[in-house]
Symmetry: C2
Subunit: 237 residues, 2 copies
């Protein structure tokens, strides 16, 4: 048994943001002078960092996200650890690693977390983000550094499973929302269509989705009733 003396551990965060415009993921654009190359273009990557020596995994993920978005208390869930010995050895990623790491040749195992934020209200304003950080539509993500495309795919699958088995939709919606918004969210994340009447039938069975005495305003059509989530009534299903 040889101890693994020099091996690094990081967390990578797949932060999903949602608004009426679709599902997006937070990506970091590598700086021009340090970028890795994909056919000559700078690449993007998932936010992540080496964990500190006394820091828990989830705490590290929270730190990474807070540094980028200044938002605390995001829903965060670990979904997979990626440990291919060569996952940071690809030629395309060498330049970037050399520019930011003291030990660029070190093997790095990473633990993937996905997080959820609503972009409806005005929570994490793009303005409050560090430069070079942007929301990219989930369907328009190009090649990413390292194995980040497969981490992203893992996160999407985990998100889909979680949405189908746990009540997490309120993490992605405004506090007050319409049933159409809720349905759009399901259709976007699960990438399939639902029948409007059947969908609403199912929602009405969920005691944690409560109708408000309030209607949508400022729309040029019939205003929809607003609903909200009652977190006390989320049964573990």
């Amino acid at each position: 048994m040889q101890p693994n003396e020099s091996l690094h551990l990081s967390v990578d965060c797949v932060l999903f943001g949602y608004d009426d415009d679709g599902l997006k993921v937070l990506l970091i654009n590598q700086k021009e002078d340090t970028y890795a190359h994909a056919q000559g273009r700078p690449m993007s990557q998932l936010p992540g960092d080496l964990i500190l020596i006394d820091e828990g995994l989830e705490a590290a993920a929270e730190r990474v996200l807070f540094e980028l978005t200044q938002v605390n208390g995001v829903y965060l869930k670990q979904f997979h650890a990626y440990g291919d010995p060569d996952r940071v050895k690809d030629h395309k990623d060498r330049a970037w690693l050399r520019s930011v790491r003291t030990m660029p040749d070190q093997r790095v195992i990473t633990v993937g977390y996905f997080g959820l934020v609503s972009l409806h209200d005005h929570s994490p304003q793009p303005a409050s983000f560090a430069g070079g950080v942007s929301w990219v539509d989930i369907n328009e993500v190009g090649p990413l550094a390292f194995d980040h495309n497969s981490i992203l795919n893992g996160a999407i699958e985990a998100l889909q499973t979680q949405l189908e088995t746990h009540h997490i939709s309120f993490e992605l919606l405004p506090k007050k929302f319409t049933l159409s918004q809720l349905q759009d969210l399901y259709e976007t994340v699960l990438d399939k269509k639902f029948d409007k009447r059947n969908f609403r039938k199912n929602i009405k069975k969920m005691s944690h989705v409560v109708p408000l005495d309030e209607k949508q305003q400022g729309v040029m059509h019939k205003p929809a009733q607003l609903f909200s989530f009652n977190p006390d009534q989320i049964e573990n299903a």
Copy 2:
């Protein structure tokens, strides 16, 4: 950003074994002279090891299991990474760590895998195991070293989910099995009872469970028909 210079990574394996006697887990009994103490008694722990410097995570889990059971090709699935900074700092675990590790104070993050083997045929004979290794009924597991009880619980939940969503039961059964054995397996793992007729109705819809022209032998009651799995017909459901 401080690099995490001295931090170790391990895999821990929860190897489930199943036979008509129930669901068991493979545990290692710490040696008398090195044991940690739980009210004065030696403790058990999950098999695990630090990963080698050039070894993938799954490869490490395979190696750990092979060293113990001499069996290759077990079904293995990663389920969670455990990274509490204090997870190997508990007083009860110090003695054991000092006896086997060159750097016993090092923080260790571990990635949990669960594995499945059938104990029916004669696959991994207890005889072929290293000394101090034993199958313990899942309902009779006492306090384990480190955070291994919570790792075990995580593995059980992952196994239950996997059994309900994927066709993995054949990993735990003999090549030829009866429908009662199959039902017992489901009842044991999911810890709930099924109606015999309804259960069989559902099985008959699964095209990968195929009846053989063969019956149980040597039983003093009506012999049951034998079935086997056709792996080609396992649809991804």
